[in-house]
């Protein structure tokens, strides 16, 4: 295998930021650095309180700190895993892949089945074990085994199933051979499948909550109460430098939003994830509220087996909802409207179709009449049993009713999610945490390959064809980018899903007492490796 070829390919895909990306501005200029290292000038050293003990109250639990097991998948509790386990490939705030534990990577053949990673030198795990090819291979093999045993998280499972074999080429070089072409492999390695565990912890053959959680990230776990709290300490030998980070970082799971906010107001927590409805209360109480836009959205998924198989009905639904009114009144203004799977401003948001599915109840009625439903129609809707979903559905149910669409709601909880995938309902409203890979985002939500979310299959065969084509193209290939934009346009034009608004995380903290977290453009979470406590905080 020629090194030249690897490097040539890496140049095209590794550091991101090629001119092929739709939004060159967001591309990574500082790609060679750790996502959070080396940015602070020397004079600013005293700016951050390195003895601070940062306590964060989150709304989702860590049932275990095993990044590869089922519970650590797309649930939102990524704050601790991201802080503890650095990933082979990192993500910058704009969603581009950047070097992480691997400095370089790329496909070494034109078929996109041979992939090599060149690891960063001088990286050690929290237990002092070095990060080398053997350690990475041990991790990848563990994931394959977990997947075969049905014990892997869905992301790990989907990734590991594609790996036909993994091997160490030399001390610092790893080769993954794929069963079939899959250009999104680097993105796979930027989430859970890229989280590296110390080989010593793997050798102990313990899984889930029993795993010794030793990673190579800037924080090491010193205490874990599954489903309750993860206690971490700063890892001073972190490859990206330990400067400026607080001495400890604790992530608590507190399901009750009022309790989380009260905790910050009373000083029990430094920062908490709050709900949009609490923003005013928090600010009135003298707290600062930081708003972090996510790549994810609120949307309604459709089952095209049934009346929704008719594009006119789906398009009518797109035109029936007044998204801005929902944002203003139901989401307390803490969101942006979107008619696409991606939020405005995201590199793969397609400006060409922006606004093409605006609120227009008259047009909605015409489209319905065209489809033969001038007397209206009734659709079944699986509604999740949380107040947020109820408020949302009350609003859009009335809007749909105004054009003649009656929603027949069945209230269920997350455990009934699968009944939508099984085709038992016409509609399911959900929030989407997002995936780092834009192609995967579309693949899961609008192509026939999307398991749980596209029960009727793709609404337009072009979506499947384009997706298939993109999987065989190099990342950074201009056609790859074109395809993603095209798929987005088709999805909006054909109303393959019914987007409502973007998602945003709101954090409340005492003014001047937190800097960060950073962006993590996937899975509804944020990147707490960047969080700092200013020295001026008293």
């Amino acid at each position: 295998m020629s090194l030249a070829l690897v490097l040539a390919l890496v140049a095209g895909c590794g550091g991101g930021g090629s001119e092929d990306e739709p939004d060159g501005e967001s591309a990574v200029a500082e790609g060679e650095d750790a996502p959070d290292a080396g940015e602070e000038p020397d004079a600013a050293e005293a700016e951050w309180d390195e003895s601070a003990e940062l306590v964060f109250y989150d709304s989702a639990p860590n049932h275990s700190m095993d990044p590869h097991d089922t519970v650590n998948d797309n649930n939102n509790a990524q704050a601790a895993p991201i802080a503890v386990y650095d990933r082979l490939i990192d993500l910058d705030g704009g969603g581009q892949i950047v070097p992480g534990l691997a400095e370089e990577w790329g496909f070494t053949d034109d078929e996109l089945t041979e992939f090599e990673l060149v690891l960063r030198g001088g990286v050690t795990f929290h237990d002092g074990e070095p990060l080398d090819a053997a350690a990475v291979v041990a991790n990848l093999e563990r994931m394959i085994e977990l997947s075969e045993a049905g014990e892997a998280g869905a992301n790990v499972d989907a990734a590991a199933r594609r790996w036909a074999s993994v091997e160490a080429v030399d001390d610092m070089r790893v080769r993954i051979t794929l069963a079939e072409p899959h250009s999104s492999l680097p993105y796979d390695l930027s989430v859970q499948p890229g989280m590296m565990i110390s080989p010593a912890a793997i050798a102990a053959e313990r899984e889930g909550a029993e795993l010794e959680p030793i990673g190579a990230g800037p924080y090491k776990v010193v205490g874990l109460t599954p489903g309750s709290v993860v206690e971490m300490e700063r890892f001073d030998d972190y490859w990206g430098g330990a400067e400026g980070r607080p001495a400890t970082f604790e992530v608590h799971y507190v399901p009750e939003a009022d309790t989380r906010l009260n905790a910050v107001r009373s000083g029990a927590a430094d920062v908490a994830l709050i709900e949009a409805r609490q923003a005013d209360e928090a600010e009135a109480g003298g707290l600062e509220v930081e708003r972090k836009d996510l790549v994810g959205i609120w949307f309604t998924m459709i089952n095209s087996d049934g009346p929704l198989g008719d594009p006119a009905v789906r398009q009518a639904m797109m035109h029936a909802i007044d998204r801005q009114a929902i944002v203003d009144n139901v989401m307390f203004g803490e969101a942006d409207v979107t008619e696409q799977l991606f939020p405005p401003g995201y590199p793969y948001y397609n400006e060409d179709v922006a606004g093409s599915r605006d609120y227009d109840p008259e047009l909605a009625r015409e489209l319905l009449a065209e489809a033969g439903y001038e007397d209206g129609l009734t659709l079944t809707h699986l509604l999740l049993n949380t107040p947020e979903y109820h408020r949302l559905s009350e609003a859009f149910s009335e809007m749909y009713a105004a054009v003649g669409i009656t929603l027949d709601h069945t209230v269920g909880d997350v455990s009934q999610f699968a009944s939508f995938g099984a085709g038992e309902f016409d509609l399911l409203t959900s929030r989407w945490g997002g995936r780092p890979d834009p192609l995967n985002n579309l693949g899961v939500t609008v192509t026939s390959g999307g398991r749980a979310y596209v029960p009727g299959g793709a609404v337009d065969p072009r979506l499947d064809e384009l997706h298939e084509e993109a999987l065989g193209l190099q990342f950074g290939d201009s056609r790859h980018t074109e395809i993603i934009l095209e798929m987005g346009a088709i999805a909006t034009e054909q109303a393959a899903l019914l987007p409502i608004a973007t998602r945003r995380n709101l954090y409340a903290y005492q003014p001047g007492c937190l800097d960060g977290p950073g962006d993590y453009p996937a899975q509804g979470s944020d990147d707490w490796r960047q969080a700092r406590v200013p020295s001026s905080c008293s």
């Binding site: 399901p255 309790t259 909880d413």
Partner: protein
């Protein structure tokens, strides 16, 4: 007495068996697939099937029930579908929180109820009595979550004198344990105090009017002695019954109170279990709660013998 006790204890076995059967069957009736939840929303059908087999959820119902009950007898509550850890371990780790909460709430309830009821019953229909009735109406009608949030706003945020949430084990620091228990215990205990006060007041009122009480007064005994020695013990039987019944309210209340104060007890565990369709956890906590209620009621029954010698003879 021993024979009576033994008979009652043996009588618990069929009750508990019924409880296990009803709980197990009720869970089967709930919608939602535990294998699907554990495997994750994005999991493939293949993965979900592997999960189902691994968890034994593909076995016939009767066999699942049988092996669960057989495990219970051996003290094995099964393994959490969500955490992969033994349920008995999880219950043992979290039980101290719930025990602390229910015990302190009960003690607090008694500390409030006994003097309040005595003061109210001593001079019926006077101002003290009327205000007690008024206050207990509040205690009974205000929901736990309202009292809890109100207490946090006032004592943790406005005056900043008590912690808003959290738990410190008694073994780590008895002082910090008690400071952390105050607000949750008051929240949970308010309704208990109110309910007990009302029953005790009613019970005492009946007794205060009796002739032997007048005799005691005429003998020259002081108010405290009259109420404390002569009235209280005789008024205790119906009150103990009510106290026994409160255990159900307390255990139910922990679900809300533990959530408001972010306490990792059995109440919050069962809520998590329900959301995740973690059947072994739901059944485990359920069975422990049921056993607690049954044992407390047995203790109440047995205490009648202590409080009222006539029952002892009857037994």
């Amino acid at each position: 007495m021993l024979k009576f006790t033994l008979k009652r204890v043996v009588g618990l076995v069929p009750i508990m068996l019924m409880v296990t059967l009803i709980m197990f069957l009720l869970l089967q009736l709930t919608p939602g697939d535990p294998a699907r939840v554990a495997a994750g929303a994005d999991a493939s059908e293949e993965m979900v099937q592997l999960f189902r087999e691994r968890m034994g959820l593909d076995q016939p119902l009767l066999q699942q029930y049988g092996s669960w009950v057989a495990g219970l007898v051996r003290g094995d509550f099964g393994t959490s579908l969500q955490y992969g850890t033994p349920v008995s371990e999880m219950i043992l780790r979290r039980a101290p929180v719930t025990i602390s909460l229910t015990l302190t709430a009960t003690i607090l309830g008694l500390l409030v109820a006994v003097p309040a009821a005595m003061a109210a019953a001593y001079k019926p229909d006077r101002i003290v009595d009327r205000s007690t009735v008024f206050a207990t109406t509040f205690g009974i009608s205000l929901p736990d979550f309202f009292i809890g949030l109100l207490l946090v706003l006032v004592f943790a945020i406005e005056f900043d004198v008590l912690p808003a949430l959290g738990y410190v084990p008694f073994t780590e620091s008895p002082l910090r344990w008690s400071i952390h228990m105050i607000l949750p215990a008051v929240t949970l205990g308010a309704a208990v105090a109110a309910e007990l006060t009302r029953h005790m007041r009613a019970s005492l009122r009946d007794i205060v009017g009796m002739e032997y009480m007048n005799t005691a007064r005429v003998k020259g005994l002081g108010t405290v002695r009259v109420m404390g020695k002569h009235a209280l013990r005789n008024a205790a039987v119906p009150v103990v019954t009510v106290l026994g019944l409160q255990i159900r309210r307390l255990l139910g209340g922990t679900v809300i109170v533990e959530r408001i104060f972010s306490l990792d007890g059995l109440g919050s565990l069962i809520v998590q279990g329900v959301f995740a369709r973690d059947f072994p956890v739901i059944l485990g906590v359920g069975i422990v709660s049921a056993l607690t209620v049954v044992v407390v009621n047995l203790a109440v029954d047995l205490s009648y013998g202590f409080l009222d010698p006539r029952v002892r003879v009857g037994a």
